[in-house]
């Protein structure tokens, strides 16, 4: 059987069954968009982890003038207390856990703050006095944060020990929940897509029963009988997958690249490159689902 002939049959099928084909396109489009969104969110988490886990430190904030914490009852941290903390960080008990540490004064804190919130009006109203001084500690193993916390929490002159990772974990868990929701919706939509492809192929086989009846009589092989229908489902799913990829690309381009990435300069964001990694898998998923679902349908409704 010649390719041109098969493609002609596919064209006839698509034209005659247009409204069903359009609905297959839309349902695959939406379901694959959700799948892609979930995948991109997971990639965003990975991206942020890689970027932040190196940079994130444990911050040991020292007492300022007006801290309420129980360690700070005597007012701001004294020179002696600061030296004590610094030598503790260098002691043999702590040293194995610490990669390096660094003192950050109020003035340095202000400089960092202003850098980070460059575009926001906040950076102009904040003064160095409002920001705490701190020790920034990088850990050899970030998971061992608890040890540092225990050691320093009750030390005089320490206001609070903060693991910056905790903040990130909160963000990650929100993204995670969002991506699970997306996966859930995607699952339901994919089920719809599979059932709809089946129904569409069935309707298409019904609409073309005259042709297939004749094809069967003149000795068309099983594959040449079924191929036009399978291709029909696959083409519809392919269009849906391409649409989904396009929409994801546009979303990342205009919402992430041109908005989020500019507003939050020192956060790593996924970019359109990640969409290009996800898109082929979406297309493959769409094609495989449509192919399998139409073959299964045809086994029942289009016998040789």
């Amino acid at each position: 059987m010649k390719l041109g002939f098969i493609l002609g049959e596919v064209g006839t099928g698509l034209r005659r069954n247009l409204s069903m084909v359009v609905s297959v396109v839309l349902v695959t489009f939406i379901s694959l968009t959700f799948v892609g969104t979930a995948a991109l969110m997971q990639m965003q988490i990975t991206q942020m982890k890689g970027y932040w886990y190196d940079k994130v430190q444990v911050a040991i904030y020292l007492c300022g003038e007006h801290n309420e914490s129980s360690n700070c009852t005597e007012g701001a941290v004294t020179e002696g207390q600061r030296g004590e903390i610094e030598s503790m960080l260098g002691s043999s008990a702590v040293k194995p856990y610490v990669d390096n540490f660094e003192y950050e004064s109020k003035e340095q804190a202000l400089a960092h703050f202003q850098e980070q919130f460059e575009n926001s009006s906040m950076s102009e109203t904040v003064t160095a006095e409002q920001l705490p001084e701190s020790f920034r500690v990088s850990l050899v193993d970030p998971e061992k944060y608890q040890i540092i916390k225990e050691l320093f929490s009750s030390t005089d002159g320490v206001d609070v020990v903060v693991d910056q990772r905790e903040l990130l974990e909160k963000i990650f868990s929100i993204i995670n929940i969002a991506s699970f929701v997306a996966i859930g919706i995607a699952g339901v939509m994919i089920l719809c897509a599979v059932l709809l492809v089946g129904t569409t192929i069935r309707l298409s086989a019904y609409l073309r029963r005259r042709e297939t009846g004749i094809m069967r009589l003149v000795g068309a092989s099983k594959s040449s009988l079924q191929l036009p229908f399978v291709l029909e489902g696959i083409i519809a799913a392919l269009v849906g997958a391409l649409l989904a990829s396009g929409v994801l690309w546009a979303a990342v381009r205009f919402l992430v690249d041109e908005k989020l990435a500019i507003e939050y300069k020192d956060t790593a964001f996924i970019s359109t490159g990640e969409v290009l990694i996800v898109a082929p898998w979406l297309i493959l998923l769409g094609v495989v689902l449509a192919g399998v679902s139409s073959l299964v349908t045809l086994r029942r409704y289009l016998k040789v």
């Binding site: 059987m1 010649k2 005259r210 009846g213 004749i214 003149v218 000795g219």
Partner: protein, 275 residues
């Protein structure tokens, strides 16, 4: 070419209606049709003619006995080889079954495209076939621009486009007037003279009587008679199911053509009273 050995076809075998309800579509039929034969299959409605033809095509599989086509037991052919069997058999129906949106040429070409013939082979062969069935110059017509007889010629052309050894026709003249039917029969006769085995189920007594070819009569799924040059009905005692006998009157058509060989053979003698 085609051999039936004790073939029984019981539809709805699985239904639990009970065996007294399930009358077989064919009942213990044994017959052989040789290469190059031209045979009529006659009998009342529901006597099993279409069932007989569908068994040859392996659209259905016999529930008992075996059907052999071109030396193969069709029940034993694996399903992926069935298309190959069907490429050797052309089929024509009462309702033509043309594709309405394709023109005459495309309808015939369709059969060749389906089996993967090259474009040049199709371009060469289709006009020849159309010429054989008498449709020269009508390649570009749509089916709805043709008379019934012409549509049936297109259907015949399509059936023989892949040069099958067997041509099955299920009441091909059923929708046509007598004169048009004669034309169709001439086409089938010509195809048969080219060596194709033709098996035709029909109710058209005029045609059967005038052609004087082999006649196989079915009744309630059984073969009632098998004559080499028979008529639609014969002056023979018919034994009814309840055991009574009656004499059936031969009913002759108006079409006149000298019988090719009107010698009658077993199982029954017929009275040759063609005018």
């Amino acid at each position: 070419m085609i051999r039936f050995e004790n073939v029984t076809m019981v539809y709805d075998q699985k239904s639990r209606l009970g065996s007294e309800n399930a009358r077989p579509g064919l009942d213990d039929v044994t017959i052989e049709i040789d290469r190059g034969d031209f045979a009529f299959l006659v009998g009342a409605s529901g006597s099993g003619k279409s069932t007989f033809l569908r068994l040859i095509l392996r659209e259905i599989v016999a529930t008992g006995g075996s059907v052999h086509v071109a030396g193969q037991n069709v029940a034993r052919i694996p399903s992926w080889r069935v298309p190959k069997l069907r490429r050797g058999i052309g089929v024509v129906f009462q309702d033509f079954r043309l594709l309405p949106q394709k023109n005459v040429f495309e309808n015939v070409a369709f059969a060749m495209q389906v089996v993967g013939e090259s474009r040049s082979a199709i371009r060469d062969h289709v006009p020849q076939v159309l010429k054989l069935v008498g449709l020269e110059g009508k390649e570009k017509r749509q089916p709805d621009e043709l008379s019934g007889g012409e549509q049936q010629r297109v259907a015949i052309a399509r059936a023989i486009a892949n040069k099958p050894q067997i041509l099955l026709a299920d009441e091909p003249t059923g929708n046509l007037d007598p004169a048009t039917s004669v034309g169709i029969m001439n086409v089938l006769d010509r195809i048969n003279q080219n060596g194709t085995t033709v098996l035709m189920a029909t109710h058209d007594d005029g045609i059967v009587n005038s052609m004087r070819r082999r006649v196989v009569e079915l009744s309630l799924g059984k073969i009632m008679r098998d004559e080499v040059a028979g008529e639609y009905t014969s002056m023979i005692p018919v034994i009814n199911q309840d055991g009574t006998r009656e004499l059936r009157q031969a009913n002759h058509g108006t079409w006149q053509k000298p019988p090719a060989g009107s010698q009658a053979f077993a199982p029954f003698d017929t009275e040759d009273d063609m005018p």
